[in-house]
């Protein structure tokens, strides 16, 4: 794939061209506008916002529906180019990286993965190794080991030989996470990962995310509207409402009664647990 004469491809893991080396993800005044065409009024605007994240940190993008959470995630993943500002991964703008380099460093876990033809769980997880292969990409022993480890890390190794369309929703969610882990990313992005999970599975997932972030030094960005899971597990919260970023900071500073009531349009109260984590209690309207 790589020819010696070509200018070296930017590689976010090995180079540090600019900025603070402690910062892995840096969103700098990034904004985006959805408009059917330039002459018409925009359908949705994400106003410029900034935050930074270090290796091992969990960032929650929190907000009600249509607040711009998914748009922000797309900007971070490099799938969308920001209208203004930049999103940097180790100093490289994410949207200018070629897809294969991007996939070596950024993994995205979406809510659902639709399959046209049935495949085995292990085949699905090995797809995460695609960006690390060459040519026809026959998987090596290393790839198989990495895929097995990824399945083991999410507690799904025993599913390896099952068919993807014959496992439960919660199991599927873990397998999709395992595929992202087998990409060995620097940045792990999750779009509403708890959507189809019951409470027990939600806690399991976030526990494992916290453990994985600490062990593998992933920077994790989770899009969610789960207040209490965010309060319990996030290191930083980016609070969005109708395309505006209202506050960025640790849960204890973002979780203010008046602010959350205003954003989520529901009466609530905020308590602090003994560990200094905020807990939200919702009341009837």
């Amino acid at each position: 794939m790589s020819t010696p004469s070509r200018t070296p491809t930017p590689n976010p893991s090995s180079e540090q061209p600019r900025g603070n080396p402690d910062v892995r993800l840096s969103v700098e005044q990034a904004s985006y506008v959805y408009a059917p065409n330039p002459s018409q009024a925009p359908l949705f605007t994400l106003e410029a916002l900034s935050f930074q994240a270090k290796p091992g940190e969990i960032v929650a993008i929190l907000g009600p529906n249509a607040s711009g959470k998914s748009t922000l995630l797309k900007l971070i993943s490099g799938a969308l180019a920001p209208l203004s500002g930049r999103v940097f991964l180790n100093g490289f703008p994410t949207h200018t990286l070629p897809p294969i380099i991007r996939a070596q460093h950024i993994a995205l876990v979406q809510q659902e993965s639709r399959l046209l033809f049935p495949s085995r769980v292990w085949e699905f997880v090995l797809q995460g190794r695609h960006a690390h292969g060459r040519g026809l990409r026959f998987e090596t022993e290393d790839d198989v080991t990495i895929a097995k480890n990824a399945l083991a890390q999410v507690g799904a190794l025993e599913l390896a030989d099952r068919w993807m369309d014959k496992i439960s929703g919660g199991e599927k969610q873990r397998v999709i996470l395992a595929r992202a882990l087998s990409q060995q990313p620097l940045l792990l992005l999750l779009d509403e990962p708890t959507l189809h999970l019951d409470i027990g599975a939600q806690v399991d997932l976030l526990e494992s995310l916290r453990r994985l972030a600490a062990e593998n030094k992933y920077t994790v960005v989770v899009v969610t509207h789960e207040l209490n899971l965010t309060g319990e597990y996030a290191d930083q919260v980016v609070l969005l409402q109708k395309g505006k970023c209202l506050r960025v900071g640790p849960p204890a500073t973002v979780f203010q009664k008046d602010l959350l009531e205003h954003v989520f349009q529901a009466p609530l109260s905020v308590e602090m647990t003994s560990l200094g984590r905020p807990r939200v209690i919702l009341f009837d309207k």
Binding site: P99, I100, R102, S113, R114, L115, Q127, L136
Partner: protein, 346 residues
């Protein structure tokens, strides 16, 4: 966990190639004139050694000059249509996609007919004339697949039902154009409407075109094969493939152009033979799974085997008369299409 290895890939392809060889030998033997295996082997070796003149018997000439080219044509056309079908199924994310069902073959047929008309009008030297028809067929296929693709898009996404309906309507529209061209401009070397709409391997193209066909197949199928592992990911959708590291627009353009070339080449020499591109990829997927690194070569070999068998049936079951080979493939393929459709709806 047993990921595909090069060794296993080659072993399976070797077995399929062996089956193809046996089928070809049987097809060479079958026909109005019976040939012994010994005579067959002796004559084939003489052809390979460029000693065709040493073949004295009439029987030998029948096998070498009539049956062998026709069978080789079936091999290349069957392989082309199957690889094109596999590619369209991945590209359009639709298990029912097939060059014939989507009207792409009909588009290639219209392209061929127009090219033949142009060829008749202009006095083109025979060396170039042979290449105009496949080129016209490629253009016809490429334009049709683009049209069907845009017909099948709703709100920026391919809708598989709309795509199929769009393809079927396009096919019927193009068949009407074929009928129109045939009834107003018939004559010369245009062949008949049933040739273009049903397909047949009975009229052999000139030898130079056969070589061109073989080389074209290798180049186009080879280009598609370089994207084999990307196609595996593309099945999950464009966005997901992009996030896993696939350069989606590049893969789409390569596969689109190469699959149009394969369809165009096949149709320009054999008309619109249906359902090979649907049946064979599905059968191969059932046996070998849906990894395109295995599926593409298996489809090529399987398509060759299937079309040699179909064409042998077409020329022997109603002997001394002959069926269009497209009728044989449609007899098997159409019920299979309905079975797949029912299974999807269930």
């Amino acid at each position: 966990m047993r990921p595909l290895t090069l060794g296993r890939l080659l072993l399976r392809c070797g077995i399929l190639a062996l089956i193809l060889f046996v089928v070809v030998v049987i097809a060479l033997k079958l026909g109005a004139v019976q040939v012994s295996l010994y005579g067959l082997g002796r004559d084939l070796i003489r052809v390979l050694l460029h000693q065709s003149s040493a073949i004295s018997t009439d029987y030998g000439m029948i096998v070498v000059d009539i049956r062998l080219p026709r069978i080789l044509l079936a091999v290349v056309v069957g392989a082309s249509l199957s690889v094109a079908g596999t590619s369209f199924q991945a590209l359009l994310r639709n298990p029912l996609a097939d060059p014939y069902v989507l009207g792409i073959s009909s588009g290639a047929a219209v392209g061929s007919i127009v090219a033949l008309m142009v060829e008749n009008q202009l006095a083109i030297s025979p060396e170039f004339a042979g290449l105009i028809t496949p080129f016209g067929a490629f253009l016809g296929a490429a334009v049709t697949i683009a049209a069907v693709y845009f017909l099948g898009r709703r709100e920026g996404q391919i809708d598989s039902t709309t795509l199929l309906l769009g393809g079927i309507i396009t096919a019927s529209f193009l068949s009407a154009i074929i009928m129109f061209l045939m009834s107003t401009l018939a004559g010369g070397n245009l062949r008949g409407a049933s040739y273009w709409m049903m397909g047949s391997l009975s009229s052999l193209p000139p030898r130079s075109l056969l070589y061109f066909l073989g080389i074209g197949f290798l180049v186009a199928a080879g280009a598609i094969y370089t994207t084999a592992s990307d196609l595996n990911l593309l099945l999950a959708g464009e966005k997901e493939a992009m996030h896993l590291g696939v350069d989606v627009p590049r893969v789409q353009i390569v596969v689109y152009l190469a699959a149009s070339i394969l369809t165009g080449l096949a149709v320009s020499v054999s008309g619109a033979i249906g359902y090979v591109g649907l049946l064979v990829p599905h059968a191969m997927r059932m046996i070998f799974g849906s990894d395109h690194r295995m599926l593409l070569p298996a489809s090529a070999l399987g398509g060759a085997i299937a079309l040699v068998i179909a064409d042998t049936l077409a020329r022997t079951v109603v002997a001394p008369s002959e069926l269009p080979v497209g009728a044989v493939t449609a007899l098997v393929g159409a019920p299979f299409f309905i079975y797949l459709l029912r299974k999807r709806l269930a």
